[in-house]
């Protein structure tokens, strides 16, 4: 057995069913070994999308996603995808081919120091030096990626090690890493303290982040909120923890969030941050928001607690485990007055929005639709448990505010904001669960960034749907220039967009187009109906603000 065969065998042992990749000579032995294995490979069209697709796959299955690229340019192409996963703590194992060990450092053909380049956005990286180390390295890599605060791990795999004799294969059953022991159980004293603080609070609020999804604690959080009637807001990554229409849910917070969500945070006397890192886009002025409040910060990563703002009560551990523990305690709290007030804010804001949208309608250019209303309609037309992947830009802002998540998943690149994420991530999600409805929502710019993946969708008959909000601009930056640069638009207009209909045709996808409000319901029904890949383009006024 050679090193490549050993690595493939390890992937089988880890239960890997699918991986996303692109070959080059330096990783050919690996793919060669893959041919004899149960692991199914999906050939993507550009390496960045292999990492995004593996991310979508991981977020759908809860397993560690795997992507593979060759040395040099293949590896550097992966980097944006790796950084995207790191920013959102998505578990990936990224395998890169590398030039032969004895040539390392000589600037030979297709050589790149990828472990050096990725250092600041991987959880850990390995360069395999000895084929005998492969089982231990893979075991550790999957363990590191999928435990504690999850994230990408890189394995750089020189060509000669892939071909070298690896000896007798034995996969370690257990893992022992002295230096890496993430805390799972929360400190009992602190848990009691949390319950005590909650009992004392008059206006407590839960702010949930992506950590809740990563821990698989959605059910526990919902039950906890319902049991004590606690209002809940979320960060962008926390969307979907609560169903959007839940009476206890008060939307997304932050500078792109709901006014009533931010108001709820401001007026609370106790904030319980759960799996959220007090990021700048969620809490733009932590000093102001947190003053005079009790802050309970629950996170699996101790370094996140106190990074931005000091917590009154820090609690480190796995969220699901912690809430199962909290469940055993009794908390007395009466939030009815606070809830009544917050519900008033919410009702008022929704009314204001309706009025504003009616006013906007008059201003809107002819043959364009209201993107906010469209996204809301889309969410209701989709299956209850459908997966939506959302790109970056105006479409993301509209989706965060208007997409009603019921039992499905809302996947977007929150931390890193990588344009072009939605399409490959949806592909990964759809490949993970081929019977579930998966829709990618993007702008016409973001779509063009990764639309080469239509080739993959075509080749593997991935039955996903793509919605493109077309406004012929880089909407969010265009909007920024409108407000901050006195309408001096530079680099944000894309007048001669390609004919998406022809592109759909080229890849044998169904094509739909909406430019009138009156068409929305009928077209959406048809677009979502069968399990054939399809593209829907909606015309949006470039002056529409998000």
């Amino acid at each position: 057995m050679n090193g490549a065969q050993s690595l493939v065998k390890c992937l089988e042992k880890e239960g890997v069913e699918k991986l996303f990749g692109y070959p080059g000579v330096a990783i050919v032995p690996f793919f060669d070994a893959l041919k004899d294995s149960s692991v199914e490979e999906i050939l993507i069209r550009q390496e960045q999308n292999a990492a995004h697709a593996a991310g979508g796959y991981a977020r759908t299955t809860g397993k560690v996603g795997v992507c593979v690229a060759t040395s040099g340019p293949g590896a550097t192409n992966l980097i944006t995808g790796i950084a995207t996963a790191f920013a959102d703590s998505i578990p990936l194992v990224c395998i890169t081919g590398q030039v032969e060990s004895h040539l390392l450092g000589n600037d030979v053909f297709q050589e790149a120091d990828v472990s050096g380049a990725c250092e600041s956005f991987v959880k850990y990286s390995y360069i395999v030096r000895d084929p005998a180390d492969i089982p231990r390295i893979v075991k550790e890599a999957f363990y590191i990626a999928g435990s504690g605060r999850k994230g990408p791990v890189l394995i750089d795999f020189p060509m000669d090690i892939q071909l070298a004799e690896a000896g007798k294969f034995s996969y370690p059953k257990e893992i022992s890493m002295r230096t890496y022991k993430p805390t799972v159980r929360g400190n009992g004293k602190q848990i009691k303290n949390v319950c005590l603080q909650l009992s004392k609070a008059k206006k407590p609020i839960l702010c949930v982040g992506g950590g809740v999804h990563l821990s698989g604690a959605e059910k526990e959080i919902r039950q906890f909120a319902e049991r004590y009637q606690l209002p809940v807001v979320s960060t962008m990554m926390g969307i979907g923890v609560m169903p959007s229409d839940h009476p206890l849910y008060f939307g997304m917070v932050g500078n792109n969030g709901q006014s009533y969500g931010n108001r709820a945070m401001n007026e609370a006397d106790l904030i319980m941050m759960v799996g959220a890192r007090v990021a700048d886009r969620s809490v733009s002025q932590p000093g102001l928001v947190m003053t005079g409040k009790v802050l309970i910060h629950i996170d699996v990563d101790p370094a996140e607690i106190g990074k931005i703002t000091g917590a009154t009560t820090p609690l480190v551990g796995d969220i699901r485990t912690i809430f199962k523990e909290i469940e055993k305690h009794e908390i007395t709290t009466d939030t009815s007055a606070f809830l009544r007030k917050l519900t008033e804010y919410k009702t008022q804001a929704k009314q204001d929005k309706q009025i504003a949208s009616r006013n906007n309608m008059r201003k809107r250019a002819p043959h364009t639709i209201d993107p906010a209303a469209f996204i809301h309609t889309l969410s209701n037309a989709m299956d209850k448990d459908a997966i939506i992947t959302v790109d970056v830009g105006q479409n993301q802002m509209w989706a965060c505010a208007n997409f009603a998540v019921r039992e499905g998943l809302f996947l977007t690149s929150g931390g890193f904001g990588s344009m072009g994420y939605a399409l490959p991530a949806a592909m990964g999600a759809q490949i993970a669960e081929k019977d579930r409805q998966v829709v990618a929502l993007c702008g016409d710019a973001g779509f063009q960034m990764t639309m080469m993946e239509l080739g993959t969708i075509h080749q593997y008959k991935v039955p996903m749907k793509v919605v493109i909000l077309q406004n012929h601009t880089l909407g969010l930056v265009y909007q920024y220039q409108k407000l901050r640069c006195e309408k001096r638009y530079t680099m944000t207009e894309m007048d001669d967009s390609p004919h998406f209909e022809c592109i759909a045709q080229a890849y044998e996808m169904e094509y739909y187009h909406i430019s009138e409000e009156s068409e929305v319901n009928d077209v959406l029904r048809e677009f979502l109906l069968d399990d054939h890949p399809a593209i829907l383009v909606c015309d949006v006024d470039p002056e529409e603000m998000a």
């Binding site: 250092e119 360069i127 230096t179 370094a303 990074k307």
Partner: protein, 197 residues
């Protein structure tokens, strides 16, 4: 004020760059950094002198602890530790000036390690204050070259020993002793059972 951190890491390739990279990336200051093997050759001791407010120092400790190669990180507080640095100074001296520099070196218990017609090389070991003071006094002379190693440090006394067990676990001394005792008890129990059998 400068603060000294002691970090025990696995002796893996790239570990120093991971640590220094973390400092530069997150904008933490490095006044000096030294690294060398510990009594157990599997591990390296890194001593970093840094500065920042309490919040930053707390973050430094947490972020460093998060790195997977790191076994132990702790601050070595001045009142509980000894810091030492070595400096080599090459001073330009004429035959007339030579005596003065030598006697100054003697006061500081510094050693002359190289003598040349126009220069002297002096080696001085001590806390940073001592070295700074010595350099201040050399101001009247022309310093041709200066090499400082940065601080190496250890906690004082046996209580502050950071012990690396055979299996690689890092423990404070009291915890180490407790572990030893527990092991002994366990052994005795086992022996007792055997005897009864």
């Amino acid at each position: 004020m400068d603060r000294v951190f002691q970090i025990i890491v696995d002796n893996t390739s790239g570990v120093l760059s991971r640590i220094s990279g973390l400092f530069s990336r997150r904008g933490y200051n490095i006044e000096s950094i030294t690294a060398g093997v510990t009594a157990d050759p599997r591990f390296t001791r890194i001593t970093i002198v840094t500065s920042g407010d309490e919040a930053i120092l707390e973050q430094i400790e947490k972020q460093v602890a998060k790195l997977i190669d790191v076994r132990d990180v702790r601050e070595l507080k001045p009142e509980e530790s000894v810091y030492r640095e070595l400096a080599m100074v090459k001073v330009k001296v004429s035959a007339k000036e030579r005596e003065g520099v030598i006697s100054l070196s003697n006061i500081f218990r510094a050693n002359i390690i190289d003598v040349a017609p126009q220069s002297l090389m002096i080696e001085i070991v001590g806390g940073q204050d001592k070295i700074d003071a010595f350099l201040d006094l050399l101001e009247g002379y022309e310093i041709l070259e200066l090499a400082r190693t940065g601080i190496a440090a250890l906690g004082r006394g046996i209580d502050r020993v950071v012990h690396i067990e055979d299996d690689g676990t890092v423990r404070g001394w009291t915890d180490h002793m407790r572990a030893l005792e527990e092991e002994k008890k366990l052994q005795q129990k086992k022996n007792g059972k055997k005897a009864r059998k």
